[in-house]
């Protein structure tokens, strides 16, 4: 089936001046902020966003409005908003598109959110590898300040909100919300034990809301058009649109925005299908952490619930397409090089387990493994998978899902490496 894009977040990004404030204003930009500040109480903004059920676009799918509701009712401390633009999940580049091409959309989302949660200050954490996104946001902040949408006494309402860009310096784990808070405070990006959750005790030990770039960029639409309009988009499970980041072996890799519920097969077709007329071997649907899908498993609706039922995750919507020439053992080795490198090292199961698994898969890939190694690989991952509370954060889980799914679904390919003492695909 041929599908069409529904560009709300990526509206107008093909225009040369899509990042400029005048372009944004001409498209109705900052009207939602004005409406929120002048016509709505903060609690009404929270209620409207809660009604829209914007599920967290960083990958966890938690509803933004509900998260905001966790802020303590009695509180003397400052409240902070931290926007997560660390975007480090391999295969993901949606937040980069928003920050670079529509920075004012994100700023408006942050400003409305700050008003709703009572924050005077917000930090937008942008990974160090995104200098263009940082520059675009810095420029947008200056433009918004000049026009009175940001800073002191916004639009004469007496509301004051400051937003700052905070740069990362290269660490995947800083995309984990508490790792990011550690990083903003000037520490190693070590995640923290929860509870306390950031809403209760976050940045500088103050109540803090952490939301992803794409999540916050949905807020202006919800306030301007109303939650009812937002709920008309997407599915009951996941309302709204999402930006699909299609990469790997397709003809036209890119960022494409569709209503949630779009079929994964159609998304891949939209990106030109498998390149060079080759056959499909596997799809990783939600960033490198996601469980791999086989070609006969991709006729599935893309929302959080449907992909969970298909045994994987919607995650960050990073869709990686692998053609028939790919060696899955080599692909897993690549994934484990990533995860073992990015483990912060605090928790033994993650620090030791990811590195052990990397060594075992490297041995198998080199044709020096044993059949027992293939089972051992699965077992190691099963052991460090932290869902049972073995680790502080979910990095270990993210590193376990590829191992378990590749070894299970491509077991024969792993065993052939052992039996033939080399890669059967000639890799």
């Amino acid at each position: 089936m041929s599908i069409t894009e529904r560009r709300i977040l990526l509206h107008g990004i093909d225009r040369e001046d899509s990042a400029a404030i005048d372009t944004y204003l001409a498209d109705g930009g900052y009207r939602a902020l004005e409406k929120a500040l002048k016509e709505m109480q903060p609690s009404e903004v929270v209620a409207e966003v809660a009604k829209a059920r914007i599920r967290g676009r960083g990958g966890a799918g938690f509803e933004a409005g509900r998260k905001w509701g966790f802020l303590p009712k009695q509180n003397e401390k400052p409240v902070y908003l931290t926007c997560n633009g660390d975007e480090s999940e391999p295969g993901t580049f949606k937040d980069r598109h928003i920050m670079e091409r529509r920075p004012h959309l994100l700023l408006e989302g942050c400003l409305i959110t700050c008003y709703a949660i009572g924050a005077r200050t917000g930090y937008i954490y942008v990974r160090g590898e995104f200098p263009h996104a940082q520059a675009a946001l810095e420029k947008a902040i200056e433009e918004a300040r000049e026009r009175g949408y940001l800073g002191g006494d916004i639009l004469g309402t007496g509301v004051s909100i400051d937003l700052f860009v905070h740069t990362g310096a290269g660490a995947y784990v800083c995309g984990e919300e508490t790792g990011m808070l550690s990083s903003i405070e000037g520490n190693r990006g070590n995640p923290r034990l929860k509870p306390p959750f950031p809403a209760v005790e976050g940045l500088f030990r103050c109540p803090t809301i952490v939301n992803n770039v794409e999540t916050l960029s949905n807020v202006p639409f919800v306030i301007r058009e109303g939650a009812e309009e937002f709920l008309k988009l997407g599915t009951e499970d996941t309302p709204g649109t999402r930006i699909f980041c299609v990469s790997g072996h397709v003809e036209r890799p890119g960022a494409y925005e569709f209503e949630c519920g779009v079929n994964l097969k159609d998304v891949i077709e939209y990106a030109g299908g498998v390149w060079k007329g080759r056959k499909l071997k596997a799809v990783i649907p939600g960033g490198l952490s996601a469980h791999v899908l086989l070609p006969d498993e991709i006729d599935v609706a893309c929302d959080f619930g449907s992909l969970a039922r298909a045994g994987t995750i919607m995650g960050s919507c990073g869709v990686m397409v692998l053609d028939e020439t790919v060696c899955m053992v080599r692909a897993l080795q690549n994934a484990l090089e990533f995860f073992s490198h990015e483990s912060c090292g605090q928790c033994t199961p993650c620090r030791e387990g990811t590195d052990w698994a990397r060594k075992v898969v490297t041995r198998i890939e080199a044709g020096k493994g044993t059949e027992a190694d293939v089972d051992k690989l699965y077992e190691i991952a099963d052991n460090y998978e932290g869902m049972g509370g073995k680790t502080i954060c979910a990095l270990a889980d993210a590193a376990a899902w590829p191992v378990k799914s590749y070894v299970t679904k491509f077991r024969e390919e792993f065993l052939m490496h052992v039996r033939q003492g080399r890669c059967p695909l000639g890799g």
């Binding site: 391999p90 740069t167 310096a169 190693r188 890799p253």
Partner: protein, 171 residues
């Protein structure tokens, strides 16, 4: 000893960066929160974090030198070893791997005569190479980030042109 512009001489903050660093510090309720943005600025200025600045920086922000070192060693974009005037991050993660990142890296290593895994710098100090985990430019895989410039859809054949372009832009 003569101190050239851009060379570290121990005084912190260096005079030409003071205003910029004070402005960063002012963004936070605690001075230590400015540590990573300031380290990134120092890295850009000196191509590494000079040892002689660590104590001064710690004092400036009100933390310990050990804390500063702990942070430097945690983040991959911060380096205690001096990098080349042009530092190339070559992405090696899956989306880039699938589209030939390995060949691109080999071509670069051959062309420059240095190895990424050893953190080598060309003898003239011009270039250094480093493999990077996902740079978030997967739609342009394989990709390189160098001097804040992005290069996408790189092939072993086009690496020469990238090196020429970086050279022509100067440091």
């Amino acid at each position: 000893m003569e101190t050239k512009m851009g060379e570290a001489n121990g005084a912190f903050p260096p005079e030409h960066l003071r205003e910029r660093f004070d402005a960063i510090v002012a963004r936070y309720p605690r001075r230590t929160a400015a540590l990573i943005p300031i380290l990134m600025a120092i890295q850009e200025e000196y191509r590494h974090i000079p040892r002689e600045h660590i104590e001064g920086l710690a004092e400036y922000l009100g933390c310990t030198p050990a804390h500063v070192l702990g942070v430097i060693t945690f983040y991959t974009m911060l380096s205690q070893r001096k990098r080349g005037r042009h530092h190339l991050y070559v992405c090696k993660t899956l989306s880039c791997h699938l589209r030939g990142a390995g060949e691109v890296l080999r071509a670069l290593e051959e062309k420059l005569g240095i190895r990424a895994d050893r953190g080598e710098v060309t003898p003239d100090g011009e270039f250094s190479l480093e493999t990077a985990e996902c740079l978030g430019l997967c739609e342009q895989a394989p990709c390189i980030l160098a001097d804040g410039i992005r290069f996408g859809d790189v092939t072993p054949e086009t690496v020469g042109r990238i090196i020429d372009e970086l050279k022509s832009r100067g440091a």
